[in-house]
Symmetry: C2
């Protein structure tokens, strides 16, 4: 730790040093229990002020990497148990008489807002992470500045101010579009539905990730489409060889993938593999619906690129929303439908007429005044910290043979239990102890992943969460 | 006019007398040009105050029934040309190379908010008829009173306060339900879509009115459903014999009808015929999706009953929204899905997750504080007046062989031109003169009604509208 830092803006100095410590800790160079230099020693070593040194340790402490021991100093407290990535394949559920996936999902949702429940099931932001009062201001400003107080039908394509801002922000995902290439929707699932309608007819086959967000099965089912499940690796994402083989052997009308921070695995495809995917589909002339709803929630330095950013042929249709970043209740989403813009507009006109005016304009104003950037910096940091805190607690309390992902963004951990554990039984037992989790089988169409579950780290870590995870660990035992 | 009125509340006295005059005028007892008693004579005759007598004539004048001539008194000015109801059947479009219905609809919508257009195409309320500032207050109150400033996902079933109010208002349509039997949606078309999904699978056949709202075709198409068009009479509504015959010969999975103020014909089925329809479908165990979006917009004394009010078997699913009464841009609708509640909830959970929180709560509060009742009384009166004013102008300016409906509620007139008139050509010609109408072929799946068009009277009648109708009349000539 003797190498001096190069001069940088003092505001980011502590962050840079904390990052370096974090790397040393997670990579195992510094081990749990190791004593760290005193604040004064750190200050001297790094050539930084005492307050910057102190802030560095606070940052690491908040993330659960280190702990302060009274009158003794700082020690590494991170319990490294780098669990093996969960394998994709799992035995299909053998008992067809068991509860249906739809009923299971209904049960998970039923207890969504029950009092006293430790909510670990839903991939949504905790209220305290959202910019409540600033958004209220934007909404009132929307009422005030809109010529018709937002009572009128909005343009079918969406509020123009919002579309301009979406086009501006798309640059961070590597995309260059104008507002005329953006269509707003009633949330992300609505965007997926509209895009699917634009490029498929009932009876068509659509390739999807496995496992994937259960809502996607239902959308396909509702449109009379068949799902072809493509295995997805918990770290590298989609199995491209499997997909290529399928493209050569099955008529696939469209693909619907979550390449960045897949739900539930958290996997993020590398830039190279995203480009490969786009090229592969361009060669086969197959549209790619890219669900990018978690794309802005990266823990690293940079936003991962989107598949859309590699799109030369206009075949990629990016879909996302503000439900995971700003306001689930606003129901504001959008898509960038590439060459399918006329079809998408037609589908939206026919089925939704238009989206809610006032929430679209409020989000547009929130983007415009720069508050979105500021909010997202805080949200990403909070989620990263929570991810590490939850992971550590799971490492401490769960059986030694459980496995867990190590996501670099998003809201969820994907856990594999011993094969003898039935996740649906665990879900029901946990619910009796007032803990809600999302059982694995809801993430496949055919009852796979019966010993897996998804856990959200959307709520700030506290005593109740820790108790919940401890109890969950003992229930799994 | 010498019979004395029985004593009633003075506030409603003038209305009662005005109604009686209106009846005498529309039924032809009093003819255009007839002189009416002076205000003083009316006061004496009816035993009412001078101001009540004056108010009576003002009411009739506002509706275009009578006119004041300077220094001469009041005269009947209503130009009675009671046009024959438009027949249902029309020749199918012979030229398959013509523009598609979808493209036609897109063109109608394209000019929705163009500056300087005389907008007669869209069945929507003019902004000045909506309670803008009162709704703004309700929306700000929603933000203030909701524990999470409406940022959170709402319950899947919908905001509870709004559902309670919907259940309360359903009584006026003859329906007794609790809030647990209501599901809110993202507008009425969304409600129709969810209900269809709950009771059909792709490939099924759904019976619909002919003509009917074009959005219904697209919803069916998007869900992979087949449309069976049932003829609808412009006055009495659905042809029940035709329907019964179809039920005996075709497997119909569901019916989707607009029994009250059908769009575009404006027809309203009588109570008896609604009951017959419900019984017929109960005998065949076929669900009825009742689109009641215009049900609250009656011109008569009482709200027409709904089919849902006759439902004993739980097969009727009523769908509606506030888009025609309060705020199109809010996207707040709902359904009462009867026995299909679990399926409907499942469909909503899977595809929409939930509806916009803040607009749902704002509408709930607006209902709760009684402002909805007051607003609706004003809106109904305004629409009735506008309907009469538009009808009179059409009678004055359109060719003698054109026919027009005489709706008792809703937003639209349905006009049949001479067979030589092509409505799509008329639409294009009118657009060049900055007048927008809705050509007949967009209301059928197979290009029928090629010499019909629909005209909205949603905008208050003024000089621009009158000029537009005059021009339109001359273009038809």
């Amino acid at each position: 730790m003797t190498k001096k830092t190069t001069p940088v803006s003092p505001d980011f100095l502590y962050q840079q040093i904390a990052d370096r410590f974090e790397h040393l800790i997670t990579s195992g160079v510094l081990k749990t229990g190791d004593k760290l230099p005193s604040v004064r020693a750190l200050s001297d070593e790094q050539g930084i002020s005492l307050s910057t040194a102190f802030r560095t340790y606070c940052e690491l402490e908040a993330k659960g990497m280190i702990e302060a021991r009274t009158k003794s100093g700082y020690y590494v407290s991170y319990r490294k148990r780098h669990l093996a990535p969960a394998p994709v394949e799992s035995k299909p559920d053998a008992d067809p008489a068991r509860i249906s996936v739809d009923d299971m999902i209904a049960q998970v949702y039923q207890h969504r807002s029950d009092e006293g429940i430790t909510q670990l099931a839903l991939a949504t932001p905790a209220l305290e992470l959202l910019p409540q009062s600033k958004l209220n201001k934007a909404l009132v400003e929307a009422l005030r500045t809109h010529p018709a107080s937002c009572l009128n039908y909005e343009e079918v394509q969406g509020n123009r101010l919002l579309r301009k801002q979406i086009a501006r922000y798309a640059v961070s995902g590597g995309i260059t579009v104008t507002e005329n290439e953006v269509v707003t929707t009633h949330g992300c699932v609505d965007a997926l539905t509209i895009c699917l309608r634009a490029v498929t007819v009932p009876g068509d086959t659509v390739a999807i990730d496995s496992p994937t967000y259960f809502g996607i099965f239902s959308v396909l089912q509702g449109l009379g489409l068949k799902a072809l499940q493509i295995p997805t690796h918990p770290v590298s994402g989609l199995d491209l060889d499997y997909l290529e083989n399928s493209l050569n052997n099955v008529r696939i009308a469209a693909c619907l993938f979550v390449p960045t921070f897949n739900n539930p695995t958290g996997s993020c495809m590398s830039d190279d593999r995203k480009q490969q995917l786009v090229n592969l589909l361009a060669n086969h002339e197959v549209p790619l619906i890219e669900d990018d709803i978690y794309g802005e929630l990266y823990f690293g330095k940079q936003r991962p690129r989107t598949c859309k950013s590699y799109d030369q042929s206009g075949l990629v249709m990016l879909c996302t929303s503000v439900s995971k970043t700003l306001a689930p209740g606003y129901r504001v989403g959008w898509c960038l439908p590439g060459r399918f813009l006329p079809n998408v507009l037609n589908q939206k006109r026919m089925t939704a007429v238009s989206s809610t005016t006032v929430t679209q304009l409020a989000v547009g104003l929130f983007f415009e005044n720069g508050r979105f950037d500021l909010h997202m910096r805080n949200l990403r940091k909070a989620l990263h910290t929570q991810c590490l805190q939850y992971s550590q607690a799971i490492s401490a309390y769960f059986p030694a043979d459980s496995k867990m992902t190590n996501p670099q963004g998003g809201y969820v951990l994907w856990l594999e239990m011993n094969q003898s554990v039935n996740a649906y039984d665990l879900f029901q037992t946990a619910l009796r102890h007032k803990i809600s989790i999302a059982p694995g089988p809801i993430f496949s169409t055919d009852g796979r992943f019966s010993n897996y579950f998804r856990m959200s780290f959307g709520r700030p870590f506290d005593g109740q969460i820790e108790e919940g995870l401890k109890k969950l660990g003992s229930l799994i035992q």
